[in-house]
Symmetry: C2
Subunit: 624 residues, 2 copies
């Protein structure tokens, strides 16, 4: 299958999934009766239930399991907070405008589309040109506004709809802006992420945790990005649910006590070096990845493992899930390491979870801006020996004049090992060459210029800014990928039709069970209602269908909603329970059926367990 | 106790509650390190857990129990939707500005404060003046901008902080405005309620429900109101969680099949007539209230009953909960009836849930604006007899000239009874007096002007706009009232201190259970960790405290968080389980304790059941 065919197949598959999702109201383009708004979607009843289930499992798997501190902060955020975080200045995309109509486009999208189109559709393209276009696509994210503008000009790219000329690219801030209070003097934004709400509360949360590290805080909530021109359906939207964890840890000790619980997990990883050298993702044991330094530290590794368990438990196909390390140019300058959980769907490999070691960046930024120190302290049981570096400023001033300050700072910034080596050299040789980065050269330090001592100073605690390790989950993207991974079709009994099935695990399924009286009759209906009541009491979501529609049609309808179990009432004492994927059936007493359904949907038993326990039902006439 | 003393007591109680809530991070003023933003609060860890619990119970009690269709729509809403709903034009408060500093105030608040101050603090006030101020306070909500301005002028009210003169009152729209997309041409707002997201989806939801009425849709989500100057702490905020139900019903049949399940509930109701005649709220059976027409219809009554059960189950004191009917001037012109669940707290009686029969207003508004008919149809099994009124336009034109159209419309709008009476009169007398409201007078209709027939027309269905009954829950307000109703203090063992307790029911408690090793020792700690693991597996939130703090202090700390049960590990085989409110203790085996805690916190057993089942533990030394 060549690339074009493959693209066609993907497209057709996506259409089948999306049609089913829209028809069954998993989602609805928002404000549809007013022709909608690009990038805004509603979750309809089954979609809303899937989302609830995913979030409930997220709470169980992360918050409860790790005793995290969950918080819930407002979406409306004053400017000062997002100024500190860098969003006001840097949370932008480059935009070009149709010079006549004013329609806006993302500059990088236009350039990418142009290159892709040329490579895929231009039969006369030279190998050289094709390589150039490929290169442009590879470095797209690194291009400045000027470089993007130059390329657009060079290639003669015009507005897609009108062919009008385009403006030069300029940055557009992606936050929804608003004004807080009536004065018009307090600008605010709808938060672009939930993380900042946690950072600004660090001091209180640290106190709540008994002034102890490490601890994690978590938040689930809406976030907003005013995309220039949303594409990719449910994957690039203007409002979405994020679930974020901020795990605060001592930068000098990023080990994790529970790392051994995940260290033997093996899954697809795609380290930076492999990407650069053109290799593919490969199976690596996460324990090995940490030991070999592929993953920066144990805590980061622990969360990568936990994210793997979370996603596969939801039903994400492990063969279409990989952890890709950020390339140097993708990563913020302050980040220690960063991995994305990417899930393959018809749009390609999609970033669904980001797991980053953001070092002390965020807490430092808010400390600076607010003046409130967001720090932790480690108390020592005994006073500890401390390295004391004392530059002799007079001597240094004489020797380095205007550069004195830089030399002093460089000396004071030495780590213990470097300082002790310098001390030894000075004692043996009287002088030493010393690199001062800020001067861009080496200088000669003599014995009289600095004193280096390890002394028993009365140091009872160490005050420091914690590092933060941040797993950040795009819930909507995970759910969309889950839809694609769960979807399949199978022939109807007659073979004349393809029927859609969402093979959700019970954990995720929007409705756990259906109740169908086999035929319309009062006795069966009463039994059905009685079962329905016991399902409600057991907290199981169900759908009851007492229409006279054929049982096969009723199964088909609910297979399409991903309902794992169906109860068919075909007698007043016992009923038939059917499994969605195998279509196998067993017989169970009326008064037992709710508890059986509960056991299976709570994950305490499997369908196989139940087949072993209850007699099979082999009426083949039912599914026509 | 006089009014001033009572106010003082209330104030002191509130301070005690609020201090505890803030100190234990139930909530945190948002962006505190930047000095916060009025009207924005974070839920800290215990507050967030309480909120989760309340919402989970809401889902169980309403959505699951009634098989409601839950949806989840975006907060960002385009202008056209809120134009249709009336929010763009009418969702305003009247504001005055300090003419020198520009500081804004709510006009009605200033006037109310002034009157209150005068009544309460002015010793020289005449009875007549006092009556006038009381009257102003009573009609405050009905005053127009002009009337408010005139009163402010008359009383010489100035800006509270500066004593500067004030501008005349003018309307300020309470929605946070923003702009959707990069063009700046698509105004949008942060939704002021979640209801509109449901209304615009009516057509799809009705289809999803098999084109059958009644059905209910529900939504939980954030809503936003850009208050002019938020007061009353957690009760009047700029962003809050709403949980709303829109129950769609045939306007000709508002009975409810499950009404009998609530009809015997009796609770405090405050009908319109009783308020007007100066009586107090009184206990009424909801079944009686519906039969006697105090409550407009069964469905409205059913939801009032369900709301009562919801709130009292959460722990709201039934003596401080009342259902108050809206007065004629409070209710929108289209509403059929409206009741607020009001909860009494230190701020007075606070509206926490509104339960309104909004008739067909919302669906009609969106039908008009969007051009998409949001209607339902009732199919008849047989064609039905139909009233046909045919005005003879020629005759009417001759008789009424320019008023013809109004007369035609009035004739066509007649109900069956009125029309059949007119038919009889015309047949016997040849003419009839007929009131035309739009003309403001009666006209004389003669036999030749109209034909009235009941004919067997082939009418197979009736198309109509459903009525909507809307219970709307302010989750934050309910939670705040719950805090006040659950809070109490008791003397410490030594009697030297007052200890705070939140007496939450297990359902609501942020943490269900604590695990304390009695003394610091490795064996006990291991047992504690083992119990902790089994609690996690059972899905129970717990707090483990292995510090050497005295057990009494540890109890006090967690009583303040409202933790209902405490496990103290004082042997390696069995443990002590303590009940928060009674402080009684029982002994349970280590391997049984998690399941006992689960039974009690899930509400399957009570503490009394457990006391009957397990031996008492009577060590009195522990709580000092």
């Amino acid at each position: 299958m060549d690339a074009a065919q493959e693209a066609h197949t993907r497209e057709a598959f996506r259409q089948a999934v999306v049609n089913t999702l829209e028809r069954r109201l998993f989602y609805i383009p928002s404000f549809k009766i007013y022709r909608g708004v690009a990038g805004l979607y509603d979750y309809g009843p089954p979609g809303c239930a899937v989302k609830s289930n995913v979030l409930a499992f997220w709470r169980q798997h992360f918050v409860l399991e790790e005793n995290m501190l969950e918080v819930d902060c407002p979406c409306v955020t004053p400017e000062v907070v997002l100024k500190a975080s860098g969003h006001v200045d840097k949370f932008t995309d480059l935009m070009v405008k149709d010079e006549k109509t004013g329609t806006c486009y993302r500059a990088d999208h236009l350039l990418k589309d142009f290159c892709k189109e040329k490579i895929e559709r231009d039969p006369n393209i030279t190998a050289e040109k094709a390589a150039e276009f490929r290169h442009v696509m590879a470095v797209l994210d690194d291009l400045s506004a000027e470089e993007l503008g130059a390329k657009i000009k060079e290639y003669g790219i015009t507005a897609p709809d009108t062919k009008n000329p385009l403006s030069p690219p300029y940055p557009f801030n992606l936050m929804f802006q608003t004004s807080i209070g009536p004065s018009g003097l307090s600008p605010g934004y709808m938060r672009p992420e939930t993380a900042q709400g946690i950072f600004v509360n660090f001091k209180d949360l640290y106190y709540y945790n008994g002034n102890k590290l490490p601890f994690a805080a978590a938040q689930i909530g809406q976030a907003f990005r005013n995309e220039i021109s949303p594409r990719q359906g449910l994957l690039r939207v203007r409002e979405f649910t994020l679930a974020e964890i901020e795990h605060f840890v001592d930068p000098e000790d990023k080990s994790h006590p529970k790392f051994s619980e995940v260290s033997n997990l093996e899954f697809l990883m795609f380290p930076r070096e492999d990407q650069v050298s053109g290799q593919s993702a490969r199976r690596i044991r996460i324990g090995e990845a940490v030991t070999e330094g592929i993953v920066n530290n144990e805590t980061l590794g622990y969360f990568i493992g936990r994210v793997y368990l979370f996603l596969t438990h939801l039903g994400i196909d492990r063969e279409r899930l990989r952890f890709r390390q950020h390339l140097a140019n993708e990563m913020a300058h302050y980040a220690a390491d960063c991995w994305d959980a990417e899930i393959e769907c018809s749009y390609g490999w999609i970033e669904c979870v980001g797991i980053a070691d953001r070092s002390a960046y965020d807490l430092c930024a808010h400390t600076d801006k607010s003046g409130v120190p967001l720090v932790a302290a480690e108390k020592f049981s005994e006073p500890i020996e401390k390295l004391v570096i004392t530059p002799v400023k007079k001597e240094l001033g004489l020797a380095f004049k205007g550069n004195q300050k830089m030399v002093v700072e460089a000396l004071e910034a030495m780590g213990e090992k470097e300082a002790m080596e310098m001390k030894a050299t000075l004692e043996s040789k009287g002088e030493v060459e010393f690199q001062v980065c800020t001067l861009g050269k080496d200088v000669t330090i003599t014995k009289s210029m600095v004193s280096i001592l390890k002394e028993k100073k009365k140091e009872h605690q160490r005050v420091f800014t914690p590092s933060v390790i941040e797993p950040s989950f795009g819930i909507g993207r995970i759910i969309y990928c889950l839809y694609e991974h769960s979807f399949y079709t199978r022939a109807s009994r007659g073979g004349d039709e393809q029927l859609n099935v969402f093979g959700f695990p019970p954990l995720v399924a929007p409705i756990k069970c259906t109740v169908f009286p086999l035929v319309q009759n009062q006795q069966y209906e009463e039994v059905a209602r009685c079962i329905a009541r016991s399902l409600t009491a057991a907290g199981i979501t169900y759908k009851i269908d007492i229409t006279g529609t054929s049982i096969g049609k009723r199964y088909a309808r609910t297979d399409e909603l991903g309902v794992p179990l169906a109860i068919t009432v075909d007698s007043t004492t016992s009923v038939t329970l059917r499994d969605r994927d195998s279509k196998q059936q067993i017989r169970i007493n009326v008064d037992e059926v709710a508890s059986v359904v509960k056991e299976v949907t709570d994950g305490l038993s499997t369908w196989a367990d139940m087949q072993w326990k209850y007699p099979a039902h082999s009426s083949t006439s039912s599914e026509d």
